[in-house]
């Protein structure tokens, strides 16, 4: 997922060799192109692109899927959605996740990555903290655990009576947390759920940022040090500006993930939590489609989700550009 940044535009490298090959169309070459490009592209068009397009069309109908009856009802589904209190609540929750999850995850992983990279000696060669690979290996691990298992484990950790968290808290004398239902309380359910997702991804972004920081030439840090910059100053004025493209990529991916959040939220609170406080759009879409069979309406929800995702990515790009990114970053 992070490799997107390495992309090269096609056709940019049309060397003489590539152009020469275009001329003679032998059987070898034609069969090669058909098999190599034809099969994957057809699969991709049928199973990925066409559903996206169909969804937009279905969202304008009152289709229930199993009957042939499908009336074109224009934007009625959208009007219905925006008057539906539960959907609006789930949309609000998704947007809250989309705003806060990337910020929390990225700040925390940046702090940890900085500790690993600049926590070492301030004299001589720039080197990282001793023994830091241990932390990296441990922190990265949750990223590879299936999301559903992450949800199940944390649902058990948050369990009011037999969970690990309340066991620890009452163990250190905080008796008020005895039988406290973290996921069953409207005031804590959302925060507790968000923490689970943060837990799963901080290690991944930490590794990403450590790599970014290590890619900065050591001379820059040395120059800053000679000029008298302390560790905090170095982190804020040098490290962060120089890895801002990494941060942008991380922000977009974390945001897309947060706007989905389906697996985590349904594992932690399958019914949407107390007073729907953890209900997200993806859960609402899934139950509308596969429990209630209102496929047209569900597709409209999908379109709303896609539009929010695109707006989110647009805002991140815009903010990065307006704040002077991409100009002074090129190394």
């Amino acid at each position: 997922m992070t490799h997107l940044s390495t992309e090269v535009k096609p056709g940019s490298g049309d060397t003489a060799a590539a152009r020469r090959r275009r001329i003679n169309l032998s059987f070898d070459k034609v069969s090669f192109m058909v098999v190599f490009l034809g099969i994957p592209v057809v699969i991709y068009l049928v199973f990925v692109i066409s559903p996206f397009i169909q969804a937009v069309y279905y969202s304008l109908t009152n289709w229930t899927g199993f009957s042939a009856k499908m009336d074109f009802i224009g934007l009625n589904n959208y009007v219905k959605l925006f008057q539906d209190d539960i959907f609006m609540k789930s949309m609000g929750n998704s947007i809250v996740l989309g705003i806060f999850l990337p910020i929390i995850t990225i700040v925390l992983s940046l702090v940890l990555a900085s500790l690993v990279t600049v926590g070492g000696s301030s004299r001589g060669q720039i080197k990282g903290l001793r023994g830091s690979s241990f932390y990296r290996v441990i922190s990265f691990f949750p990223y590879v655990i299936p999301a559903i298992v992450v949800g199940i484990i944390w649902a058990a950790v948050y369990d009011p009576s037999s969970g690990l968290l309340n066991g620890l808290l009452t163990g250190v004398g905080l008796e008020q947390f005895k039988d406290f239902a973290w996921l069953g309380n409207e005031s804590t359910a959302m925060i507790a759920s968000m923490f689970v997702i943060v837990w799963g991804f901080v290690g991944f972004y930490m590794v990403l940022f450590i790599a970014g920081i290590k890619g900065i030439p050591a001379e820059i840090f040395e120059a800053a040090r000679i000029d008298g910059a302390g560790r905090l100053r170095t982190a804020v004025s040098i490290t962060i500006p120089l890895i801002r493209d990494n941060i942008q990529t991380a922000y977009i991916y974390m945001g897309i993930l947060a706007l989905d959040a389906f697996v985590y939220m349904s594992a932690l609170n399958s019914g949407g939590g107390p007073n729907n406080s953890t209900l997200v759009m993806s859960q609402q879409l899934f139950s509308t489609a596969f429990t209630k069979g209102q496929f047209g309406l569900a597709c409209a929800m999908g379109v709303v989700l896609a539009v929010i995702t695109l707006i989110f990515a647009g805002i991140v790009f815009l903010v990065n550009k307006l704040s002077g990114g991409a100009k002074d970053v090129s190394l």
Binding site: T6, V48, V116, R123, S162, L164, A211, A267
Partner: protein, 301 residues
């Protein structure tokens, strides 16, 4: 630009070779290092405690789990694992997952490397359009596609079948695979494929005997990420593969946890969680360096 930096850094390291200095840590350094270690250890604990606790609980009976979150099991037996594997169906889910993920992984690697190769090394009309379409597939949420996808599979008779699930896995893993390998094939030198064609190798042979072996490091990284992505996939099987005897591990354990409210067997649930995590743990331990390396490689551009 990058070569310039490389040469200056070389001269700097040369200079430090000439005047070897052993830098002593100042007290401030020690304090910072201490605080860093403390904070990083706290996070490592937060990561590792729930996992160790899950493993511990997987050996306890349900009544022991309810008695105390920290108590040790009276006897260390694999009873929960046997229950999870057999009566909870985790065993058959496991085998289903191995088959489905294995086949999907093989197919997507084959098709993805072929597409990436053609897009990266041939100039033809429409190549840019295909590339843009792939980008769209990475950006749009899968939730937008899920309803029409359900009916595409239903109408083609692929709904609730293994081939249906495999082909959807392949289709949705394709864009990432193509992107990663696209830049990889682009960076391979043209001289070698030219030499192969002068020596009389056709396009097929050039790809399979010359280019593909050269792309091995890239293929390995993508394969690991695809394996994790497919093994952990939840939404696609839950929506498109609802037949009990074909369920995959992630959806099976999800369903098992979902009915916990009625038939409480927490010990078996913990054991099932451990069984689900063990394969990715093994992959992680073996390929840990490579995984973190390819996360880094993506940022180096």
């Amino acid at each position: 630009m990058s070569t310039k930096i490389a040469s200056t850094s070389k001269s700097v390291s040369d200079a430090s070779l000439i005047i070897p200095r052993k830098a002593k840590d100042t007290p401030g350094d020690k304090a910072v290092a201490g605080v860093s270690h403390a904070l990083l250890s706290i996070w490592a604990l937060i990561v590792i405690l729930p996992l160790l606790w899950t493993v511990l609980s997987s050996f306890k009976t349900t009544s022991e789990i309810f008695a105390s979150p920290f108590g040790l099991p009276a006897e260390w037996s694999f009873k929960n694992y046997v229950t999870a594997w057999t009566s909870a169906g985790i065993g058959s889910y496991f085998i289903n997952t191995v088959i489905i993920v294995g086949l999907a992984l093989f197919i997507v690697m084959a098709l993805g490397s072929m597409t990436a190769y053609v897009l990266a090394r041939f100039v033809f009309p429409g190549s840019k359009a295909i590339y843009t379409l792939m980008l769209a597939g990475l950006t749009f949420p899968i939730f937008l596609a899920i309803v029409p996808l359900f009916f595409i599979l239903k109408n083609t008779g692929l709904l609730n079948t293994r081939p249906g699930l495999i082909i959807v896995y392949v289709a949705f893993a394709l864009p990432f695979t193509v992107f990663f390998l696209f830049s990889f094939f682009k960076s391979l030198p043209h001289e070698i494929s030219e030499a192969a064609s002068i020596d009389g190798a056709g396009e097929w042979r050039t790809f399979f005997q010359v280019m593909l072996p050269m792309a091995k490091p890239g293929l390995a990284s993508v394969a690991i990420f695809n394996f994790l992505g497919l093994w952990n996939q939840y939404l696609i099987p839950v929506a498109l593969n609802t037949k009990e005897d074909q369920k995959v591990l992630s959806q099976g354990i999800g369903a098992f946890a979902g009915q916990m409210g009625y038939a409480v067997d927490f010990g078996a649930l913990f054991a099932a969680s451990v069984i689900t995590v063990v394969p990715v743990l093994i992959i992680y331990i073996i390929f840990q360096r490579q995984l973190q390396g390819s996360v880094s490689a993506g940022t180096m551009k």
